[in-house]
């Protein structure tokens, strides 16, 4: 399964998770895991998602999520899981 890590960092506001999840649902992307904290008013979320059945190409999805982040006022990054796996697992 091709997994993608989505990270969302920025000032906390109402509806961040809702808007990100709506986007993912609309594009047929399944959420496998979510962890989220708030540190000193800063929203910090990591999602592990399955993009195998996604309607869109990875590059387009990453660009659209980044744009969505700008609308909400947070930074959304979308990266394939391998970079983290490679770095932190032998």
């Amino acid at each position: 399964m091709k997994k993608t890590i989505i990270t969302v960092v920025g000032k906390d506001t109402v509806g961040i998770i809702a808007r990100v999840c709506t986007y993912l649902a609309e594009n047929n992307i399944n959420i496998l895991d979510i962890s989220q904290t708030i540190v000193q008013g800063y929203f910090n979320m990591m999602m592990v998602v399955d993009t195998n059945e996604a309607y869109k190409q990875f590059g387009d999805m990453a660009d659209e999520l980044e744009a969505l982040g700008q609308q909400i006022g947070v930074v959304i990054k979308c990266q394939k899981e391998e970079i983290f796996d490679q770095m932190h697992r032998i």
Partner: protein, 454 residues
């Protein structure tokens, strides 16, 4: 599964500590382009490079996007042109026309440098080698993205002092030809002892004759990541210090390995090597000199610098070797002056001299790199500096190099601005005493003995 902490650590390295993949370099053999007619030779070279590299930049950007890791440069290295052009080129202008072809195709496919305008003359020069070397000033002044390198010696063959003498003159001439741009041509020209065939870094990249038709080599970098990791172990002993560098180098290199494999898969070109390097840039926080300071020196160049650099270089290799299936190229810490803000500061403060830099090159990757010297430095003095550096490489069985820029019209106390990744540099004083009689002897320095090591 990957956890929150690990994801944050990786992204922190990328966003705050300048972790990047410095270069994906596509090596292309031009041996099958050899022709006796210069026009046909140029045509074949253009066609082969264009065909092999047309998707290189796009693929690099795709990989960068997928993993969220910047890939700063996409570059090409080719077979040394002295070998490829020998049959067709009978004048310096013929060789320079090949340089123009390389420049043209580099611009067309969008790479920022193309390396391999090179000659390998560690023992002797063929007529073609000498002609290519003599054409370097013309080639580098009439092109923008072509990089040139010459291998002048090796541990097995000794040092070709005729070529060392010639290169002193060629470097001066290249400086003269490009004096309008602060002698920028010399920043694209490097001489080596024990030049590696698979180096992905410019200006010294070329595609060795023992390599496959095409190959992907990747250079990683992360001085900022190492520096930040060391900030957390201030005051700890050397064991802790070394372990920290090693672990960090492992993580940095893993990213390079991933990118190399991915590029190899997408471009359908075999993966060659990962070059384990700490390559600085002029950006704040991307400095090898700052790591030396973090290890405990007031400035790079202070007593202890050579030892600090030796341990840094060794730990980077120890960590990196396990992270990659194939390691090669130059692999180690780079200490260019103009491309490293900490080095520039050390020179400006009077802490770092040419002689100390020479000592540092004994224990780290490459050599005297991106050093600006006064424009009135004599050709024989430059040859003397080169000979010293080649001797270090020859005796210590390592790669050493000299990329030195005599800035025409400028002297000690002035600075020179190269722009972009090449940075800026204060002009350093050179020992004023003559070595004319030494350099003018001619001939070769024999290969060193390989036993009785002391």
């Amino acid at each position: 599964m990957i956890n929150f902490f690990e994801v944050n650590e990786t992204n922190q390295m990328i966003e705050k500590e300048n972790l990047d993949v410095r270069t994906i370099t596509l090596g292309i053999s031009l041996l099958d382009c050899i022709d006796s007619d210069p026009a046909r030779l140029n045509q074949k070279i253009y066609a082969k490079i264009y065909d092999a590299a047309k998707d290189l930049v796009k693929t690099g950007e795709e990989i960068s996007h997928e993993f969220g890791i910047p890939i700063v440069n996409k570059r090409i290295s080719v077979t040394p042109i002295a070998l490829v052009g020998g049959a067709a080129c009978h004048t310096a202008e013929d060789f320079a026309s090949v340089a123009e072809t390389l420049d043209r195709v580099a611009k067309e496919v969008g790479v920022n440098f193309i390396g391999g305008y090179s000659a390998l003359v560690s023992k002797g020069m063929t007529a073609a080698d000498e002609l290519l070397i003599r054409s370097i000033p013309l080639a580098l002044s009439s092109t923008e993205r072509v990089c040139s390198s010459v291998n002048l010696g090796s541990t097995r063959t000794g040092i070709n002092m005729d070529a060392v003498k010639l290169m002193g003159e060629v470097i001066r001439q290249t400086a003269e030809y490009t004096k309008e741009d602060d002698s920028l041509g010399c920043a694209k020209l490097v001489v080596f002892c024990n030049a590696p065939d698979d180096n992905p870094f410019m200006a010294g990249a070329f595609h060795g004759v023992t390599e496959a038709d095409k190959v992907i080599n990747v250079g990683v970098s992360g001085p900022g990541v190492v520096k930040t990791a060391l900030e957390k172990v201030r005051g700890e002993n050397f064991e802790v210090l070394c372990e920290t560098i090693k672990k960090t180098a492992f993580k940095v290199t893993r990213v390079g390995q991933l990118v190399a494999q991915e590029a190899s898969k997408l471009l359908k070109v075999p993966f060659g090597i990962v070059d384990l390097s700490l390559a600085p840039t002029p950006a704040i926080g991307d400095s090898v000199a700052d790591i030396l300071c973090e290890i405990g020196l007031e400035y790079a160049g202070a007593p202890g610098t050579t030892a600090a650099l030796a341990l840094l270089n060794d730990q980077v290799k120890k960590g990196g070797v396990m992270a990659s299936s194939y390691v090669g190229g130059l692999s180690g810490a780079f200490i260019p002056v103009s491309e490293d803000q900490g080095m520039i500061d050390a020179v400006s403060a009077g802490a770092l001299t040419l002689e100390k830099l020479e000592a540092m090159t004994c224990v780290c990757s490459v050599g005297l790199d991106m050093i600006a010297i006064p424009g009135d430095t004599r050709a024989t003095t430059i040859s003397g500096i080169i000979a010293d550096e080649m001797a270090i490489g020859m005796v210590n069985q390592k790669t050493t190099a000299v990329r030195i820029i005599p800035v025409i019209g400028k002297g000690v106390g002035e600075t020179v601005e190269f722009g972009g990744l090449l940075g800026y540099a204060p002009i350093m004083p050179v020992n004023p005493f003559s070595c004319d009689a030494f350099v003018n002897r001619g001939g070769r320095i024999p290969a060193p003995i390989h036993s009785f090591k002391n």
